[in-house]
Symmetry: C2
């Protein structure tokens, strides 16, 4: 592991897919410090300990750890309780999280002590899987993926850098974005596709039942993959980012109505122009991205 990783102790709160993958990645990169794990489910702690991912065997962790990073990796609506439950007396500590929604977490920490607020640098690794739980975790989940870091006005630049360094050491790229921009943007680019995938799977399964995938040849399986995501995590995202998600669904419905109207009119020119303009925009964006 590069010398950039300045922490001597890392505590991961929430030993699911993301929390487990952070620990797997630290282990595979031979992190020199000590790693600890907290989870409301004791068997997850036992499992992580047996896998050699954490030192502690139960909920008891030294409350005086120094040079410490605490990474919250719990569903958005469990954040508040997870923070309440924490009782580290350390002075030399930074906090971060992995939630897909940032404004609700920012609101919560703004209600807490100013020292805590200042030391909490929000982040969101754009990595995941439709599988969940520590058994599905992987040491290369963050490799070449993007982590969005959402600094707020009470964060010191030095602390933001340390958290960015943490993600970069796990193999991730990092970009900065204010929390409210993050939530508006991800409502469209991530939460909306999940809403669509759930609704699509619901509508097809209702109709085709056990014949859903019988003739699809694999493409529908791929297209609905994210409808097998963790229900609790996504229930929390829907509630925590409700306003932006509802707005993104409304915009999508407007586009769907435009296309539905063209299909019903069987208008070859309008349809060709619509599909062509989308293809041209999309291909141009991706070609810029690759250059």
């Amino acid at each position: 592991m590069s010398s950039d990783l300045v922490f001597k102790n890392i505590v991961v709160v929430g030993l699911g897919l993301i929390g487990g993958s952070i620990l797997q990645s630290l282990k595979s990169k031979s992190f020199k410090g000590s790693t600890f794990g907290i989870d409301s489910n004791l068997s997850a702690i036992t499992q992580a300990n047996k896998l050699g991912l954490i030192i502690n065997k139960d909920q008891n962790i030294d409350t005086d750890l120094q040079n410490l990073l605490v990474v919250f990796s719990v569903p958005a609506l469990s954040m508040s309780q997870a923070i309440d439950d924490l009782n580290f007396k350390s002075e030399d500590v930074l906090y971060t999280d992995t939630c897909s929604v940032k404004s609700s977490v920012l609101e919560d920490i703004k209600k807490r002590k100013s020292e805590f607020l200042a030391k909490f640098v929000l982040s969101h690794p754009i990595a995941g899987s439709e599988k969940s739980g520590i058994s599905a975790s992987s040491s290369n989940l963050f490799d070449k993926k993007l982590t969005i870091v959402c600094p707020h006005e009470n964060n010191a630049e030095e602390d933001i850098n340390k958290v960015e360094g943490f993600w970069q050491n796990l193999g991730s790229l990092t970009k900065r974005l204010p929390a409210n921009n993050h939530d508006d943007l991800f409502a469209k680019t991530s939460h909306l596709p999940h809403v669509i995938s759930y609704a699509l799977m619901h509508s097809i399964f209702k109709d085709l039942d056990d014949k859903t995938f019988l003739y699809s040849g694999g493409s529908l399986e791929g297209y609905t993959r994210i409808a097998s995501s963790d229900p609790v995590m996504w229930k929390d995202i829907m509630i925590a980012n409700e306003e932006s998600i509802v707005e993104s669904i409304k915009q999508f419905k407007a586009s769907l109505e435009i296309l539905l109207d063209m299909i019903q009119k069987k208008d070859p020119i309008e349809l060709t122009n619509f599909f062509t303009s989308i293809k041209v925009s999309r291909d141009a964006l991706l070609s810029e991205e690759n250059n």
Copy 2:
């Protein structure tokens, strides 16, 4: 190539992604017979000839080829013209196609001579790419993919077997399905996901423009991949299968409204149950599929 391939001559009409891939696959499997290509675009013929995929260098092909299979690989609404343009005098000939919509093709051939109708076995290889044109074609496009064969009452079992054998020789699996069932089913499992992908890309790009993919980390690119599909092919599918596609969009909109309502009510129980039931159904179907 296995001895199952009974044809001595194969003519592919339409040298795009699918037509080109059929020829690439025949070549890579050392097909012993002769292959020919027809396309309204002379440069596609020249290119296919230079690639060693077809014998002919221009539109002129011996009209008396025996033991012949003609594969139509043109967009659905170009089928009628492509059939009109054909002038083979051969008696020993079978026809098939690769259209994603089958009822409109069946309707068309039912209006033609009964000998032609009898010798036309409809098929639909479930394989493709968001890339189009012969340059994007590949010899393994059909490997382990599924081809739906839609026999009609005028087909002889022997001829259906020959067409199925053709696809199996290209590496494809085959299943049979009546044309009207095919179109209802694919309206849901393939055409609807394309409609959704186009509408999603339209709605996000309208809002985010050149920032569309900036923070997505790859997942949105994957989810909108099919919105870069061939505009003419998909314009034709929308028009040729309008009725079933409109019905599938209505069913999808109903499911979307159910989920939108739950999100607006921020109901944790309803949302968790909805997501869980979808995940459970989907995971069970895939686990059956793999067993």
